[in-house]
């Protein structure tokens, strides 16, 4: 795998994105802001405080986590699937000096870039709403790139394993939605039996949410464990991602 060739693939995706961003930004940006407003102000009206903060301040950092995750997951599930099987983009690229490993790496790095992009947008938005307490919030930017690698890897593994595009719905319903709900974004998991928190510990969004919350509150020490978790998982998933994708594409 050559990083230079992987970046050729990245450049292609970036070029397409700069043409189409207006339509996808609505999906990835308006939706999290609606969550923030609806839950923060709507539900927040009935909840006095969580962990000593107004409810909207409690959920705001979590919205960085979820919206960056969804940006990557959309890109690397439906986006990648369409590129492989409908638009034949992979076939065209693989007839050039870019090889399968470069191509997979390009998809992963691009997926992580989308996380970073949407992370930045949401950080800007919640900062404008005065929902952030510390400049440490800026450290979230490199972190969402790392978590973007994890989400891209999981998504590509999923693309490689599903028999058809409709089956991707299972990934959303059975994995993403529960992870989204039980990641600690909307409520702390303390109120649940201990095993809920234990299961959540094995999901990347739970850690990303805690990191975002710690850094927005100006508590970098509280982010360390999560960052290590994400880093380790990002590395562990690399061989699986490449092996499954190679197998899916090269017959």
């Amino acid at each position: 795998m050559k990083i230079k060739r992987a970046m050729r693939v990245w450049q292609r995706h970036f070029m397409v994105y700069t043409k189409l961003y207006k339509s996808s930004i609505a999906l990835n940006f308006v939706e999290p802001v609606m969550y923030l407003v609806a839950m923060g102000f709507g539900l927040g009206g009935y909840i006095s405080e969580i962990n000593g903060k107004p409810y909207i301040n409690f959920i705001a950092p979590g919205i960085i986590a979820s919206s960056s995750m969804f940006a990557t997951v959309y890109e690397c599930t439906y986006g990648t699937y369409v590129r492989i099987f409908f638009q034949k983009t992979f076939d065209a690229i693989l007839a050039t000096p870019v090889n399968i490993d470069d191509l997979i790496a390009g998809e992963i790095i691009w997926g992580a870039t989308k996380s970073t992009l949407y992370g930045i947008i949401i950080i800007g938005t919640i900062s404008a709403f005065h929902l952030v307490d510390s400049f440490f919030v800026l450290l979230i930017i490199p972190v969402v790139f790392l978590s973007g690698l994890v989400f891209a890897e999981i998504s590509l593994i999923c693309v490689a394993l599903v028999p058809g595009i409709d089956s991707l719905n299972y990934f959303y319903t059975l994995f993403l939605t529960p992870m989204f709900l039980f990641s600690g974004i909307f409520f702390p998991l303390d109120a649940f039996p201990v095993f809920v928190g234990k299961i959540a510990y094995f999901t990347p969004l739970f850690h990303l949410t805690s990191i975002c919350r710690a850094l927005s509150a100006g508590n970098p020490a509280g982010a360390v464990e999560g960052v290590v978790w994400i880093l380790v998982v990002a590395v562990l998933l690399v061989p699986f991602t490449f092996r499954f994708m190679r197998k899916k594409i090269i017959k």
Binding site: R12, M15, V16, T89, A92, I93, P97, N99, K251
Partner: protein, 243 residues
């Protein structure tokens, strides 16, 4: 000089033998055609030559390099026109060539003038900023063809370059391929059209069920078996007529 050599080439998909122990060689500057019914193994051979899939057994070398050991080198020197339309639908006509050129490490500054020249050679220059969706089938084929030329390849691999085209567009593609051959490029193509093979190919290989039945020039085949190339083809592959 031999540009491609295949020996004992075999590709299995599970228990199905798509290509079954074939050997052939293709000379520099010639136009070589693979003829055969659907499922005869033509596309599979092409895909192994342009390093898209590895052989199950046997060996192919292109420019003296092995497709399994040195695919990067081979791919940098060839152009591929795949059977399936693989243009980038999210990009314009011009961007399609520029982005493709970038995969060969050709920077935009260099690829843009090349792209404009290529587009003008197929009459697509004034449509360079258009969306791929607005192109006719013939224009898309022409674009696929010129896209494969952006790296000035020595060998061009074309998988059914004119399937689905109207007679006018087909003539246009043939004209383009003739010109490339005159410029010394080696052409390797698969086709269902005997007229295409007869007009373009110096030699053809007729395939059936994963095996090469015969390799010869169209002229020799017609002399040896009698009738036109289509009759020869049907006789050599026409199991359904006999069954």
């Amino acid at each position: 000089m031999e540009i491609i050599t295949a020996s004992g080439l075999t590709k299995n998909y599970g228990s199905f033998k798509a290509v079954d122990n074939v050997s052939f060689s293709i000379l520099s500057g010639e136009c070589f055609g693979f003829l055969g019914p659907n499922g005869a193994g033509k596309t599979t051979i092409m895909r192994m030559i342009y390093c898209f899939m590895p052989p199950t057994r046997g060996e192919v070398t292109v420019f003296g390099h092995s497709v399994t050991r040195d695919p990067g080198h081979i791919k940098s020197r060839i152009g591929v026109v795949p059977q399936e339309e693989s243009l980038d639908l999210d990009l314009t006509v011009l961007e399609n060539i520029i982005v493709y050129g970038r995969y060969f490490d050709i920077p935009r500054k260099k690829s843009q003038p090349i792209a404009m020249e290529l587009l003008s050679s197929v009459g697509l220059l004034e449509r360079m900023n258009e969306n791929i969706k607005n192109l006719s089938g013939g224009m898309k084929r022409s674009l696929l063809l010129v896209r494969s030329l952006v790296n000035d390849p020595e060998l061009l691999v074309l998988d059914e370059p004119t399937t689905g085209l109207d007679p006018h567009s087909r003539q246009m593609v043939w004209h383009g391929l003739k010109q490339l051959q005159e410029r010394g490029k080696t052409l390797l193509l698969t086709t269902h059209y005997m007229e295409e093979a007869q007009r373009l190919c110096n030699r053809v290989a007729i395939m059936d069920r994963g095996k090469i039945v015969v390799v010869a020039s169209p002229k020799d085949l017609m002399e040896q078996y009698g009738g036109d190339l289509e009759e020869v083809y049907l006789r050599l592959t026409g199991r359904k007529l006999e069954d």
